[in-house]
Amino acid sequence: MTDTILFYTFALLVLGGAILTITRRNAVHSAIALIVTLIGVAGLYLLQRAEFLFAVQIMLYVGGIMVLFLFVIMLVNLDQAAKQKQFSGQWWIALLCVAGVAAGFGYFLRKGAAAFRLAPPEPAFPPGQGNTETVAQVLFSEYLLPFEIASLLLLVAVVGSVIMAKKRV
């Protein structure tokens, strides 16, 4: 019962924030709406017992990426862009294509929904081991090589964005 109410609350936050994000004229308002969406997604993580990802979502997305977005909105002058029209000329073609994809999603989800029942009850964690320990164990044993490659990717991204934003290379 509580789960149902919480799910619909977070779903409302997620979808309402998302729709506001893509329709607001002012980019700062879009960013604020996106923060609401990201917090809603974090709540959904908590509802599904992914506590570590909940913390990562709040700290990295809301605390990191959104601050980056707001910094760039501050650096780049958006006042002129806000006065012009916000949607490109082929918006109706885009909406038509998305409606087609939505129809496909709807058909297959309706057909396949019976295959998903309630999640079976959680097996008890081994004593003294929570979600974070379990994730860490898998991440640092089974996925050690992808983890290191991800660190390399972040290094490349840092160097690349600094070079992009520099005045003279």
């Binding site: 789960d3 149902t4 799910f7 997620v14 979808l15 998302a18 729709i19 994000t21 893509i22 980019a27 879009s30 996106l34 969406t37 990201l38 997604v41 959904l44 599904q48 992914a50 990802l53 990295l60 990191g64 990426i65 980056l68 977005f69 760039v72 780049v76 958006l78 862009a81 012009q84 029209k85 916000q86 490109s88 000329g89 885009a94 909406l95 294509c97 994809v101 939505a102 989800l109 929904a113 998903f116 029942r117 309630l118 999640a119 959680e122 979600n131 994730v135 898998v138 991440l139 996925y143 991800a150 990717l153 972040l154 991204a157 690349g160 964005s161 600094v162 992009m164 934003a165 005045k167």
Partner: protein, 102 residues
């Protein structure tokens, strides 16, 4: 009220993905297009976590961590490109960048 199943999460993530796609395809402001890409990546993460919960398998959460890593890298490089673009062309509208257009 019936309880929440995995299918509910799949509906939600499909809706979020479609909203993000509409944002990428229709908006002209590049900052908002990058935000819409974040929406799409979050829809993917909801799916991964839903199945991780349903199957009692923590691999989905590890994958979600990698998706978040990619989202960070993409946002950093994308915003760097945006700053370079604004310095050179004084615009943040995607359809005014038409150097390669006939």
């Amino acid at each position: 009220m019936h309880p929440i199943t995995t299918a509910h999460y799949l509906w939600l993530s499909a809706a979020l993905l479609l909203i993000g796609t509409v944002g990428v395809l229709t908006r002209r402001n590049i900052v908002v297009i990058l935000m819409s890409i974040e929406l799409i990546l979050n829809a993917v993460n909801i799916n991964l976590i839903a199945f991780s919960h349903y199957l009692h398998n923590v691999n989905g959460q590890v994958f979600a961590i990698f998706v978040i890593t990619d989202a960070v890298a993409e946002a950093a490089v994308g915003l760097g490109i945006l700053i370079a673009l604004f310095r050179n062309k004084e615009t943040v509208l995607a359809d005014e960048v038409d150097l390669l257009k006939w």
